[in-house]
Homo-oligomer: 203 residues x 2
Amino acid sequence: MSLATVPRRQHAEERREQILEAALRIFSEKGYAGASIRDIAREVGVTEGLLYHYFESKEQLMHSCWKERSWHAHLERILAGADGVPLADVLRDMVRDFLETLRTNGPTVRMCVAEMQRNSEMAAEHLKRIEASSKLIDDFLFSRQKAGEIRAGAEVGMAAGLLLGCAQSLFLIWGRSEDEEWDRKVSGLVENGVEIILMGITA
Amino acid sequence: MSLATVPRRQHAEERREQILEAALRIFSEKGYAGASIRDIAREVGVTEGLLYHYFESKEQLMHSCWKERSWHAHLERILAGADGVPLADVLRDMVRDFLETLRTNGPTVRMCVAEMQRNSEMAAEHLKRIEASSKLIDDFLFSRQKAGEIRAGAEVGMAAGLLLGCAQSLFLIWGRSEDEEWDRKVSGLVENGVEIILMGITA
DNA sequence: CCAGTTGTTGAATGAACGTTTAATTAACAT
DNA sequence: ATGTTAATTAAACGTTCATTCAACAACTGG
């Protein structure tokens, strides 16, 4: 059937994506152990056997779910375009974008946080990403410190850690709220949080 | 057998505690769905049937695991003894004790964070606790603000949020490290983190 | 010392799990 | 058209799951 027949290759790739997205949804809702292959197959609208045509096992499926996504690129982009921009604006952008990324990738993040607690491989991978991002921020803040925009003694890494750590906690607690409440929380951190930190490291 | 026979009541209560602790360990390691009644029974050294003598179901068992523990009392004690103590010291005590509590109750916290992501009842309860603690801290900081120790415009609630939010993230990421590394992380936040916040709200 | 309560066992239950496999359908190349 | 390949199904596999239950052991109160 089908007048506009979709090429085989493309259809298969779409299926794969479909399965990944459904798996991510189910995994983030029920956790790895709580989600069943049957659940995921039903969400996609196919039978369980097909999932084994695309993925070796349940474990490999979960791995594929989050391995391909990263929050690093965003940060790189923000810091790359930060030359000449006032520190306060960069920090606000950074925090706002970080929170937005967490919110947009809610299911991935939630799965990651929950599974990290017991999947040491996942925890290690997550740690590597955090350290990579931290290094980017540290380098940036350090350059501003050398330029005199931040007072000499300030622990710039800690300042960024306070903001991003708080942002992560904020997401874990309020990340499921409706848009309006979430926006209020975000604005609070972006404005008042950044202001406190800023005064703390420039005073 | 047994010369010093333990009274029945006491023995039963000890069993109950034993089961609760074992369950908490297993739940925090494997998550709710990943932990089996068999796992827990084996950890205690009894058969599965016995668990149903003490608890109605797996779900009720998990509920009992964390319902009875709270981090609120600690905070109340610290803030109660804060009269006349410099703000910096109170904040340092608060952060250090909060981190210590997280570390000590590691399994509970981990289970709570992981399960909160998909158990809305648990999420709601957790939120209530956080708000209760936040209120305590807010009131304390507000009194210091009125006393002139904190500058008038500062968002004191946000300051506390930054510290505790960051502390929670720190625990989630580094909470499984060995003592030495953990202590270094704690000291970093207690000293540098509090310093930044302090300068941010007193400047 | 006995009756009754209660802690504890071990086996059994049906349901759900992850995974495999043979068969079926639909798209492709020739 | 035809034979090949890949997507997909449906049913089964053995295992493990949470839970139940009848039986037994051990302590208790009288």
